[in-house]
Amino acid sequence: MDAVAIVGVGMTQIKRERKADGYPDLVYEASRAALDDAGMSIDQVDNVITVSNDFFDGRTISSMAIQDACGSYDKNVSTVEGDGTFGAFYGLMRILSGSYGTTLVCAHHKGSESQMPLITNAMFDPIYARFLGIDAVTSSALQARAYMEKYGVTEEQCAMVSVKNHGNALKNPVAQLPLELTVEEVMSSPYISDPIKLLDCCPISDGASAVILASGDRAEKITEKAVWVKGVAHCSSAYHLGDRNLYCVCALNEAAKKAYSMAGISEPAQDIDLVELYDAFTYMEPLWLEGLGFCERGEGGNLTASGKTATGGELPVNASGGCLSGNPVLVAGLNRIIECALQVRGDAGEHQVPGVKTALAHGINGPCGQAHCVWILGGEK
């Protein structure tokens, strides 16, 4: 792959309700921050990818309402309806096409403006599943149970993920839910849909973020702190929940394998210094770590319990606090990329992990991680 780099990043603060900011306000704030970070003007942006979802926004072709806020007038602009990692993937492809030297990718979400269960219910098939009332939490509970039963992963091990990630968020100024928790507190939080309890769930959030990608030669002219895309891949699996073994992470395996091969990574646990993954629910962190090949199948719970995934451990996972500490849907995956880029640059502030040379960002799309997108980022071209 030709060299492509992240040259600018911007994130808004994530909050339960950003009532004073409409979608365009959030998008402008994030896009402006990314341009300032890169030291670029909007004229230097060759094309724009927006990331949004019409159901969440409550309007059709939701991307069209934010064109002024992302500076896309007189530019080629396209939209991805899916997680930000997938939006960034499309932005990257546009640079690789040779037609554009830079891409601004922005994502926005306001969970506060609609009703999350009703929107996530609408992702399910209207003939066979939707009218059963299934939503993101109840379907994830089915996946959590399948995973725990298959491998003996425990609710306590999942609770440790909540304690770790909310604790990490204490050092991240954009996080929505920095919390000092104990395993007992997580375990005694009420069941929503068992085995998932309240403190196993990500919150409902508002926020936006933006990333500027640039081709190799443009990147070097724009900034000295470019973060390079070493490998990237996405892969999808079955839509209907019963078609896959929910404990199986085949699509993630495939995506990771391709991304590692591009990046020349043979031993992910040794070659990768930091991971930011999509932990919408606590069980997802150990499950995705298995899918990413950081441990054997079924060992994700033990990996968490070993302390290796803590910020001071061998493989820090979600040092930012992850999605559990703030989950503006769609934005959340782009934030994983941004957090990795900041870590590689050494700009992560209080939650900086020392010596991060190679980082992995991960996003999901569809019910129970139907599709996965994996990014490997590094400081060297």
């Binding site: 009532k19 004073a20 306000d25 409550g58 009703q115 269960p117 009703l118 219910n121 209207p126 003939i127 066979y128 599943a129 009218f131 059963l132 009332g133 299934i134 939503d135 109840t138 379907s139 509970a141 089915l142 996946q143 959590a144 149970r145 399948a146 039963e149 009420p190 069941y191 929503i192 849909s193 068992d194 085995p195 998932i196 079955a238 209907h240 929940l241 019963g242 078609d243 073994n245 929910l246």
Partner: protein, 157 residues
């Protein structure tokens, strides 16, 4: 833009989007739902190449990409591959009184699981591998809720 917003009561426009849709079940879905409504029989389709029996039925095998032209009658009983008991849910999504369950159920004769409701259960009867049976609605209309829910039979696979 700051300061003045702190003291200001921010304005909110309330709205509600209500748009009628007509989702066609298609040929395969129609045959499946008609069979449930009229005979109380679950149908699957078999891939001619790999032999997998899909339930819910599929027109084509997603793996082999061949047309699944053979219909197969399945049992009314099956095995729980996963389940959850819902304690808290959006009132518009709660189709049964709380607490109720969702399960991934592999019907006898099928190779894939499918999602449905779990009702009429003692919690100790729910387990991965527990046997469940379909309870049909009295008035059946040709949709997935013609099966009211599945309930445990007390058996374990």
């Amino acid at each position: 833009m700051d300061d003045w917003r702190e003291k200001q009561e921010l304005l909110v426009m309330d709205g509600r989007i209500k748009v009628p849709y007509r989702w066609f079940a298609g040929e395969v879905g129609t045959r499946y739902l008609e069979s449930l409504r009229d005979q109380g029989v679950f149908l699957g389709t078999r891939c001619p190449q790999c032999g997998i029996v899909y339930h819910i039925p599929r027109r084509n095998c997603p793996d082999c990409f061949e047309e699944c032209s053979e219909w197969v009658e399945l049992g009314r009983e099956g095995t729980l591959e996963s389940y959850t008991v819902v304690r808290k849910h959006h009132p518009q999504l709660s189709v049964l009184p709380l607490p109720y369950g969702y399960g991934i159920i592999k019907l006898d004769g099928a190779d894939t699981g499918f999602l449905h409701l779990i009702g009429e259960f003692d919690e100790e009867d729910l387990a991965v591998g527990a046997r469940v049976e379909a309870v049909f609605s009295d008035a059946r209309e040709g949709n997935i809720l013609d099966v009211k829910y599945f309930r445990p039979t007390g058996g374990v696979e």
